[in-house]
């Protein structure tokens, strides 16, 4: 990997700490994301992935540490979190003045024709696409994604992952992708981090050709390594 200089970084976090009462969840985590880089964040359940993402998103005032995240960032959560009382287009336009940017974003996720619909009328996958459009409309330099495909069925998830790949190729945003899915990380990310015991315990570059597929050469090896890092023993 090419050496990164400070000016290349969009996200830089040093010594991030967060404790809930007596339980220290993050104990000095360091994290860098370069311009346009997609970083997957893996870790066991309860390891603090969401906590770290929320801190970077500026949603956790109780955290300590040094971190810089550009103001031009957007968040997509596991649930779509659309406001049920606003039509799709108004949800996308929340806090964005430029209407054409909103319609464009909606068109990019293939939902231009549902602009006037209420969120209640959307399927789970459609709602999550609207959540992506809402993030895109902000023209973020970095996207923070907390298991954005986690609540979707397998087929929809695959389509969403492809959509993510296309959007990323077009817009060149950087992203922090929290996921528990090793394959997803290897399909989408340039680098995979493993969070363990409150620190980034492993940093694994994913140097695979695009477009990627689970049956491509090299994929299986990386998959095995990541699973090892996550403490999942290989099947006997």
């Amino acid at each position: 990997m090419a050496p990164r200089t400070a000016s290349d970084l969009v996200v830089r976090a040093r010594g991030v700490r967060r404790a809930f009462g007596p339980v220290t969840v993050l104990d000095g985590a360091d994290l860098d994301i370069a311009r346009g880089e997609v970083v997957a964040l893996l870790g066991g359940s309860g390891s603090g992935k969401s906590t770290l993402l929320r801190i970077l998103a500026g949603l956790d005032p109780a955290a300590s540490g040094d971190f810089t995240v550009p103001a031009q960032h957007a968040v997509v959560f596991q649930e779509h979190r659309l406001l049920p009382w606003k039509r799709v287009i108004d949800n996308v336009g929340l806090g964005v003045d430029d209407r054409t940017r909103c319609t464009d974003a909606l068109a990019e996720v293939g939902l231009a024709d549902r602009a006037r619909a209420w969120p209640i009328e959307l399927s789970g996958g459609q709602a999550q696409r609207v959540a992506f459009a809402r993030a895109l409309a902000r023209e973020p330099s970095v996207l923070l994604l907390d298991e954005p495909f986690g609540a979707l069925d397998a087929l929809t998830r695959l389509r969403m992952q492809q959509l993510f790949g296309r959007l990323r190729a077009r817009h060149g945003f950087a992203a922090l992708l929290v996921t528990h899915d090793v394959e997803e990380a290897l399909l989408l990310a340039d680098r995979a981090l493993v969070l363990d015991r409150g620190v980034i315990a492993a940093d694994l570059p994913v140097e695979l050709e695009h477009p990627r597929a689970p049956d491509a050469p090299g994929f299986g090896v990386l998959r095995r390594r990541l699973l090892d890092l996550l403490g999942v023993p290989s099947a006997a």
Binding site: R81, L83, P84, I120, Q162
Partner: protein, 273 residues
């Protein structure tokens, strides 16, 4: 692109079967009409004594007579004015205090405990005390209405704000909305269903308070009309007063429901545009 951008065909066309709905509505009018017919015949045939309970047709005739000479309209206006002023005062206070208690921790600590305590007092039992405090005049009636309207609206405002999904507020924050924008785009619309419920209950309580308030020392209003008629044993006017009170309650409920349906269209999705 085609894979995801394909037009969606999974739009649920969840139009309810209109016919069935209409039939149910229609069926629900049978029993009230039947009761009226029974009442009418019982009065006409003398089963019910005329001076105990006049026939509905007699009550309607009386209503028509009083409406034509303007008596009914004048008294109705007086009652409505009282209800409106009381509702406005009690409602505004409830909205303000409920919002402060719902939005601010300090407000919650300061406002909610005393309100919770006061809630235990049946406000209609305060009439003797109110008479000592503000006299038996107009202010007593308005205070009573305001008190009646205050509590349901306060509690529903408070609960409506408290029950808002914190995750939506958080999402709005990640969209760059400041505190006031979050209140306007998330808290207010999110609390609206609860506010409507509170308003409905408040209006009900206001009518009830008005009925009680208008029975002591009044020179006008529907309650006065009834009390006066009782002294002269004009049962038809007394029953007419009851009809008017009931009609007012029904009407206000209906108006509010219509308003609610319009404002909360998002809850029903496709059916409204």
């Amino acid at each position: 692109m085609t894979l995801v951008a394909a037009p969606d065909s999974d739009v649920a066309s969840a139009q309810p079967p209109q016919k069935a709905k209409r039939r149910v509505r229609w069926q629900r009018t049978i029993s009230p009409v039947l009761i009226l017919v029974l009442w009418e015949t019982a009065s006409r045939t003398g089963v019910i004594a005329e001076d105990k309970l006049p026939a509905p047709s007699t009550v309607l005739q009386t209503g028509w007579r009083l409406a034509r000479d303007g008596t009914l309209g004048d008294h109705l206006l007086d009652s409505l004015t009282r209800a409106a002023i009381g509702l406005l005062i009690g409602g505004t206070l409830a909205l303000v205090l409920g919002s402060v208690a719902g939005l601010l921790r300090a407000g919650d600590d300061a406002i909610d405990p005393p309100v919770q305590m006061a809630r235990m007092l049946p406000h209609l039992a305060l009439v003797p005390l109110l008479i000592i405090w503000v006299g038996i005049g107009e202010s007593m009636k308005i205070t009573l209405v305001a008190l009646g309207a205050f509590f349901p609206l306060y509690f529903n405002t408070y609960a409506g704000i408290r029950d808002i999904d914190e995750r939506l507020v958080e999402a709005a924050r990640t969209c760059g909305l400041n505190t006031w924008q979050r209140i306007r785009h998330v808290v207010l619309p999110g609390a609206l269903p609860s506010l409507f419920l509170g308003l409905r209950l408040a209006i009900g309580a206001a009518w009830l308070s008005l009925v009680v308030g208008e029975q002591t020392n009044t020179q006008n209003g529907i309650g006065f009309l009834m009390m006066e008629a009782r002294e002269f044993s004009q049962t038809d006017v007394v029953v007419l007063g009851l009809f008017v009170y009931a009609g007012l309650g029904l009407l206000s409920d209906l108006l509010l429901r219509i308003l609610e349906r319009r404002t909360l269209a998002w809850r029903r999705g496709l059916q409204a545009t």
